[in-house]
Symmetry: D2
Subunit: 325 residues, 4 copies
């Protein structure tokens, strides 16, 4: 059994990790650390866990674990690791954006590998530390990578995506108040979302001469889970040919699928899947991508990375029943 610990156990991504790991056949959840909730039952915070576990939040970190997941706010992983040094034996999977960019990836003698299995599964298998991708970054990269890999990005890319309220974290704010968000719609951080860095980095790693712009407009949707992203760009090639390129690129990916028909977001909610659809109108290629922001966009992918590192089937613990409705 893999001994696992979670740091920052009260947030959404930690909750999802706990839900997954409690049902994982090869993981023993050693501790869930939360300063604010130490001593409380996990199910006091993640209330759906009532009946599923009697574990309590820990007030100390157990360094004797095989893997530790950092579910801390952006910028806080570095600070935590400064004070809490794990031995090389312990795999670190960090869900923040602290180590995703190459210039940030070296830390405490560790090299954080960008944990997008569809991009670099082999490196992940050898990794001692993982920088788990962002949620929008995952949906968008999975939409673009086969295009980049086949050197087919020849023009600017226009992306519009919408995310659920869990994307904004557990803290209460004006835009997560029910009366504001119910039946509402709005954008935020136009063209400047923090995930642009990792997206550009991955695209360039596959299509080295890439010098076009990626315009990304993120939106707040009135739902709790899910990301629906559309991307389009000029593409003179053949639709069937590019479909084959996508299908081939994802041939070995157990969670990413190309759909022949239009897709909608609830096809993936509460699963670790990513669905991709390709459509061409005149000389524009439209690529649609859907994920669950907390699963393939965060905790599910983190477990995928763990599975790969520990030599388990990539899907172990991740064949989740979708909620669909």
């Amino acid at each position: 059994m893999i001994k696992a610990g979670i740091i920052g156990g009260a947030g959404y991504t930690a909750g999802e990790l706990i839900r997954i790991l409690l049902n994982h056949n090869y993981v023993d959840l050693s501790f869930v650390f939360s300063t604010s909730n130490a001593g409380n039952l996990l199910s006091d915070v993640h209330q759906d866990l009532l009946g599923s576990t009697d574990i309590r939040f820990a007030d100390t970190v157990d360094f004797n674990v095989d893997v530790v997941f950092l579910c801390l706010g952006h910028g806080n992983s570095t600070a935590f690791l400064d004070k809490n040094v794990f031995s090389e034996e312990t795999i670190i999977i960090d869900l923040s954006n602290d180590f995703r960019l190459k210039p940030d990836a070296e830390f405490q003698g560790r090299e954080f590998i960008y944990g997008l299995p569809e991009l670099n599964k082999d490196e992940i298998k050898q990794a001692g530390s993982i920088a788990n991708p962002g949620c929008f970054a995952t949906a968008i990269q999975l939409a673009l990578l086969p295009l980049a890999d086949s050197k087919n990005i020849t023009s600017d890319i226009h992306i519009n995506a919408v995310t659920g309220a869990t994307g904004a974290g557990t803290s209460l704010s004006a835009t997560t108040h029910y009366t504001w968000r119910d039946n509402n719609f709005s954008y935020y951080k136009p063209f400047t979302h923090q995930h642009m860095g990792e997206i550009n980095q991955s695209v360039k790693s596959l299509q080295s001469g890439f010098d076009k712009e990626i315009f990304f407009l993120p939106n707040r949707g009135n739902f709790s889970r899910g990301i629906f992203a559309t991307a389009y760009t000029k593409f003179e090639g053949d639709l069937e040919a590019i479909k084959k390129i996508y299908t081939d690129f994802y041939a070995e990916a157990p969670f990413t699928f190309v759909s022949e028909t239009d897709i909608h977001m609830k096809q993936v909610v509460n699963t670790n899947k990513c669905l991709i659809h390709l459509h061409k109108h005149n000389n524009q290629l439209l690529i649609t991508s859907c994920i669950d922001n907390l699963l393939k966009g965060a905790s599910g992918q983190a477990v995928e990375n763990m599975n790969l590192i520990f030599g388990l089937p990539q899907t172990e613990g991740l064949n989740l029943k979708g909620s669909y409705f």
Copy 2:
């Protein structure tokens, strides 16, 4: 023109009052007082008012108004009036529960009249001060008053009602966070809701020997506006006869209607209406009642009361287009 002021201008009920009064033909909105927002535009807080008004929140109270609406939290109206004494010339309409019960109705030489027009329109017309009814209390009383008035309550009454998130006020809380409330349902304050006092008081005022129990279970719904209430009790009489009693009781009420067919909540959302439906199964009479908690349940009714006091048509400014969808 009636000069009107609003105290506590940043909350939901104040917002609704402003929306109504800006379109009211006989009202001049003199000031909207808010300590926390003084100097800001109304539309900075009530953002749908952009383009509708350039008024700013005042930091002082203008005592030279014809009517003042108190939109303060429960318990705060008394405190406010202790420090801010209006002359007898100024009508006070209080939306809190501070003065609704007879023992609380005398204050500073004023007598607060319970402002439910369907119950005591004549007293309201003569009133100098109004205690505006609670939202659940309005929906439930309108369901029960004709039954009480006809001395037909002979058994316990069982009430279940659900309200929207605006019923909980603007402050952020766990149960108003979008991720919690979206697609969720729960109860609160079982059998002990603070509106029971005014409900019992009104029922007893019409059926003096009333000694049965009213069981009321309030619920939190996953919507923003509206109340849907059901009440049932043993009733051996004839359905058509009791329908006639209800129809007669509300014959002069411009906003309360008896529906021959089943009702649903959105029939009244964003209107000042109350719809009532009567159904009988075996010896149980089931009475359904729907209102918009912020309108007939608060600010709309407050304007009804103002209209009555100032000799205007009761519906002035209140023929609101429902949103319905």
Copy 3:
């Protein structure tokens, strides 16, 4: 491996069964029969299954299966079995209400056992045919059975419950149109819901002299999944004592839990759990119960029954990750 077939494969309960069985370690899904969709991919109808299975709907019934689930509309199971006779070797689990009442339970030499494991697990283990309980019936019985079993129902019971739009089936209707149901609330079938029969039958089986009335008011909520039910009745006993009675009653139940704190519906959505909470005010005992109408209220419980019959752990395939948000 257990060979399983599904009849009526295009509906909501069939969809959920498929989702569960595809991940079940001991089941091989032999066929999914649907006259209207024969030849199509399962994922053409249950679109979240894209990438999960390449199975197509069958146009013929394979009688050589170990278990068959009937996911037909109420009244249609009888008609189907009249034309399609399975051998005694095949376990039949029927999700309709055709065989739930004792007078209906004998059919074609089979005796349909009422499949509520918390009530009659031992009989289920020996059964060749199962009448799977209704969704409301499950939520309500789990709220009442310990009370009945301890002979504590001494007065009428007042039940109010709300269900999601999946409870109304896949067919399009006025009350399942998005514009109608979004942010709406309404009741239906007051006091006459078809599940009353099985509820009364089970209560009487535990408290034989039961002669009180159960008043049940069902409601349509604006969500897709879930049931939230409240029941109250006069109870002079001690709260802690009755909590112990409930906890003991469900001590061996792997999915039904008594919560010390108030419960809300999303604690159980997309799980096979039932949560129960007990509260006392004066001499009224309030019992709250939550389930997912499609899982514990239908397909999840059907798989529980299958597990019991085939000697598998009751939870096999049913440790589902809740969606929670």
Copy 4:
């Protein structure tokens, strides 16, 4: 009083028209024609009208009206007018897309004027027939017209917009079923929405040499009312200068406002407003636009057009209280 009739009275836009006209000080609603509902009360179909009117659907058309609104499906207005010829005395306001494009605007000796007051108020005032703009077309044109008018469109424009379920009409369909649409998101008609024609026509009327492309991706949101649209294009000019151009362009528009701060959709729901916001990042100008699809996007604008033609204040009957929540 203006005598008004409505053709096609059972749909969403007819319902909104009725709601507005019943409260309009200068309109007498003569008849509402509906073949499918003839003889029924308006409130049997538009159920929120219970208590507001006792009018019934007519089975014959009264040709003796001052204005008639055609609320028919696209393509059906032509067919209706072929069989039902109104005299020149009767103003026709058509809400379909039958007469919006110049080549279609001449019919039966009438010339249909495109009824977007912000574009051509003077022509509207003189018109005998109006082609009322489409909902998306209204939101998008109001975002683009000042830019076109100032000859500032120098590059392709990228538009993404989301609409509510009422945009799809009253008929039941897979994508308007509650269980599908609740908490879901999807696109439709990528780059080929039928409103592109009128958008391009208006832009070219203001910026004659316009030869760039407008890419428009429409989406289905999980709400009932509202449109949120974003448009961006290369713009080298100064943000404050373009803001002034927009503010000046809409200086006389009583419903279209430029917001200094970010906007969200619910600011305009259940009002006839359009809010516009301008933002610049690097050399991209981002224009956001929100309307209520049934009001400014359909029936509200139709009444605006009627007001202008009959010499009434443009806002008559249209100072609607927003629902906001």
